[in-house]
Symmetry: C2
């Protein structure tokens, strides 16, 4: 694949993403795109987010996965509308895949659309989806070097959730080294430290998110 082809693909994707954004805005839907490495805890963070917001906001969920609907079933159990996108091996979602999924959601009855991207720290970074914010879930066991090794992903997000902080006592993770790596790439990145498993820090993230949704309307 040569570079001009890649540029054409990204250009076409951005145009579709802008269309999607207009559609979300017209329906009063705030969209977030949640990205992470496999196993960082995206689905657990999203489950905890949905549980905390269910009585405040109407939520829709889109799950991108290369195979299975394990994640979608976890969220569907919370009784929110769910659409599954199976990427068939593709390592990211793009606006072209998301558009038909969005059409299957009852947009007029949704305040917040949560899109869970494919577990990958590389591919999803290049594809805007038309959502209002890009969220990266990092996790302590991945190591404090990840901002240095995956700069494109860390540079392109609006919010960083550092998950699994409950494991800090058991893992050689230098929080300052991690934060320094993040600051170099994105000095004012909004960051939350949470344990999605035990709930620590989740309220701060969820309250902030609810404010963004309210501010958009």
């Amino acid at each position: 694949m040569n570079i001009p082809v890649v540029e054409q693909i990204l250009f076409a994707n951005n145009t579709l993403a802008e269309d999607l954004r207009r559609k979300l805005d017209a329906a009063g839907v705030f969209g977030i795109n949640v990205m992470a490495s496999p196993g960082a805890g995206k689905t657990t963070v999203i489950t905890g987010t949905v549980e905390r917001l269910l009585n405040r906001l109407k939520i829709g969920y889109v799950d991108g996965d290369i195979a299975t609907s394990i994640d979608a079933e976890r969220i569907a159990a919370l009784d929110v509308p769910v659409v599954q996108i199976n990427t068939g091996g593709n390592c990211h979602l793009d606006a072209n895949m998301l558009a038909p999924a969005v059409d299957k959601l009852p947009l007029d009855d949704i305040d917040l659309m949560i899109v869970e991207n494919v577990g990958n720290l590389i591919c999803p970074a290049n594809f805007q989806l038309g959502t209002h914010i890009n969220v990266l879930v990092a996790s302590v066991p991945e190591g404090d070097d990840k901002p240095y090794k995956y700069p494109t992903m860390y540079r392109g997000v609006d919010v960083l959730i550092l998950n699994k902080v409950d494991l800090l006592p058991y893992i050689p993770f230098d929080v300052e080294r991690f934060k320094h790596g993040v600051r170099v790439l994105s000095p004012n990145l909004k960051t939350f430290e949470v344990s999605s498993l035990h709930g620590d820090g989740m309220d701060a993230w969820v309250d902030w998110l609810a404010e963004q949704v309210a501010g958009e309307r």
Copy 2:
């Protein structure tokens, strides 16, 4: 990108991989391709492997990363020949990228070549490198659902190293669910359970690897 183009790329890659394999065989080099999600502990497993084998085998190391040479520096500190491949954002190594790196290693003075692939559970699975075995490093914090969610990767490897077992007391990881998912995809997959941080289980893996290298010669 349409399917025929992908098939052509994979066919061309496989031909190059076969050339590389012949070159390694001619030089008496046993090659392993180590793959994993970001942060599963590939580099720590490799460091522990090199340390344990340094007085038994002559080792060369090739590091694939989208940016930085952090991993390569950790291994170079062990005084083995190291070649860095920067993929420039690409989410996997392929035989075409590996070939010039192999040419920079002193093959006649090497028994074991360790290739560390880009941190990714999706892209590297489709690209053979010409190495003798494909090794997947999984880790407990990633979760017990990963074989179900990334079947292509789990199906395509010869050895599975389940790392960070020292974290089992702190994480809801169902070892039986994980193993069942692996068995369905690959019933006889050689599996080692290790803590690369504390060393548990590493000797069994390293002894097995040394046997494979000896068997090849």
